[in-house]
């Protein structure tokens, strides 16, 4: 069954990871060049601080180097693999910071209602044509989500809130939060399926 792969796990990326697992550090450099802007964008969006973002990014690439041999090709694209690692580390950092400061989510910098939100990333001429296309498709897909689903995704993905924290914050039952998360991701998946056909 075809899996929508918005991040396009190109053969070249897989080859990089295979070279890394064989101990070729130049491949790690190439992986860095290929993905650092994407990963930095998402990590910075989550942690909000350039120093924290740099640390998270370095830890992520280092984890990729150490775990290159364990990357499962059937599981998903290299981009997905890297983004999941980077996001997880970024959210861990935000959560520990929040615990440390005993902050509530709405006291963190960059509240959801202000600043550039998800889906507002303008394409850049520096991106490759394909990256540009992915960015446009994702922005369009996110823009078509109903506001409550967007909010759920935003709170979970970029703010690092757990589903029970989201339920508490939005005043919705836990079941509703789960349903919104599921509907949002299903819609994204459908919207992104067009990219699968273009994938090399």
């Amino acid at each position: 069954m075809a899996v929508p792969d918005a991040l396009v796990s190109a053969q070249a990326d897989r080859k990089l990871v295979r070279r890394m697992s064989a101990g070729d550090e130049a491949a790690l450099g190439e992986l860095h060049d290929r993905f650092s802007t994407l990963l930095h964008s998402v990590v910075l969006r989550i942690v909000g601080d350039p120093d924290d973002a740099e640390e998270v990014l370095e830890e992520t690439f280092w984890q990729a180097w150490r775990q290159a041999g364990r990357y499962e090709e059937g599981r998903g694209g290299i981009g997905t693999w890297l983004v999941m690692m980077a996001r997880s580390r970024a959210v861990d950092r935000v959560r520990s910071r929040r615990r440390f400061r005993e902050e509530r989510w709405d006291e963190l910098p960059e509240p959801v209602e202000s600043g550039p939100g998800i889906g507002s990333a303008p394409p850049s001429p520096l991106d490759s044509a394909h990256d540009d296309e992915v960015r446009r498709v994702v922005a369009r897909a996110v823009a078509t989500l109903p506001p409550e689903q967007r909010e759920t995704v935003e709170l979970a993905y970029f703010r690092g809130l757990s589903q029970s924290e989201i339920a508490q914050t939005t005043g919705q039952p836990l079941g509703t939060v789960k349903t919104r998360a599921r509907l949002a991701l299903q819609k994204l998946r459908e919207a992104l399926s067009v990219l699968r056909e273009d994938a090399p």
Binding site: M1, V3, P4, D5, A6, L7, G23, E25, G29, H32, S36, T37, L38, H40, S41, V42, L44, R45, P50, E54, L57, E58, F61, W62, W65, R66, R75, G76, G77, G79, S88, P116, I118, G119, A121, P122, P123, S124, D131, V134, A139, V142, V153, A156, Y157, F158, G160, S162, Q163, I166, V177, K178, A181, R182, A184, L185, Q186, L188, R189, L192
Partner: protein
């Protein structure tokens, strides 16, 4: 939240798992279910693809070029060091054979092929015949030989280990040197770095060049043809501001008269008038006591 989740419960919670939003107890129950359910694992992989694509929805913010270059250099240096530590590049492993006292039991302890060895247990000297003595003597000689061989191997192994440690130390120093060079190059190529040329105020034509990154408060200085210092003297670098000179540290030149120095000191971008190097007592002084050897007025060559 019950830990007893049905397949349908898990399916309903997979999107939250893909978004990393599950709470601890439920996450544990779902991970346990996933370990045994192909269908849920496949569905989770699909949802994770969709969740990961959200990264493209974040505003595009490339990392600062100098930060990125430094991080890349660090990663490559770490990876090279890590690769060096892998087993396939280690010296061939020679397992030392245990050195045992030359007793009959040692012939069994030593891991040698049974061919040609007469185990004492198979030929007990019930009658006290020559065969038993011969076997014991053979075993004794063998144990001594094996012990000596093991001791030689152990010595060789230790020597190789020492050689390897020395090579590894040298390699680490080289890698650190390369990482420092990469970091310097990255700092020099940062956008916004200002360059101050420093000309001689004397006959022997020493000169220097200062790279200043005001955003990072980073100063990198290269000099050439510096006169050799007398004993007990240092060169001292000065940042000259409207409020007077500020020491940026002392240094000694190499034998060929060249020198490099790095310093971190916060100064407003419009706060610098000039940079200068003076010959001072070792350790430096709070204020310059001699005429500058080289001097660069900021604004002449910068920007």
């Amino acid at each position: 939240m019950s830990l007893d989740m049905t397949h349908e419960d898990v399916q309903a919670a997979l999107a939250a798992e893909a978004l990393g939003a599950l709470d601890g107890e439920e996450a544990a129950a779902i991970h346990a279910h996933l370990a045994a359910c192909d269908e849920c694992r496949r569905e989770l992989a699909r949802l994770e693809e969709a969740a990961a694509a959200l990264a493209w929805a974040a505003p595009r913010v490339p990392m600062d070029a100098a930060r990125s270059a430094r991080m890349r250099a660090r990663l490559l240096a770490r990876a090279a060091a890590d690769r060096g530590a892998d087993s396939h590049t280690r010296p061939p492993r020679i397992d030392a054979v245990p050195v045992t006292p030359p007793t009959p039991a040692a012939s069994r302890a030593a891991d040698v092929d049974g061919e040609g060895v007469i185990p004492i247990s198979r030929a007990p000297s019930r009658r006290g015949g020559n065969a038993g003595w011969l076997a014991a003597a053979a075993a004794l000689l063998l144990a001594i030989a094996v012990g000596a061989w093991a001791a030689r191997l152990k010595g060789r192994y230790d020597a190789l280990g020492e050689q390897y440690a020395q090579v590894d130390t040298e390699r680490g120093e080289l890698l650190r040197g390369i990482a420092r060079r990469d970091s310097t190059l990255a700092a020099l190529s940062t956008p916004g770095v200002r360059v101050i040329d420093m000309a001689s105020t004397q006959q022997k034509a020493p000169g220097g060049r200062m790279f200043w990154d005001p955003r990072r408060a980073k100063w990198i200085f290269f000099a050439h043809d510096l006169p050799r210092l007398r004993a007990g003297r240092d060169y001292q670098m000065w940042l000259i501001t409207a409020d007077g000179p500020i020491s940026a540290g002392t240094f000694k030149p190499h034998d060929d008269g060249t020198a490099e120095m790095e310093a971190t000191f916060q100064l407003p971008p419009d706060g610098l008038r000039a940079v200068a190097v003076t010959d001072e007592p070792e350790g430096g002084l709070p204020k310059p006591s001699t005429t500058p050897i080289i001097l660069g007025t900021f604004g002449e060559s910068a920007e």
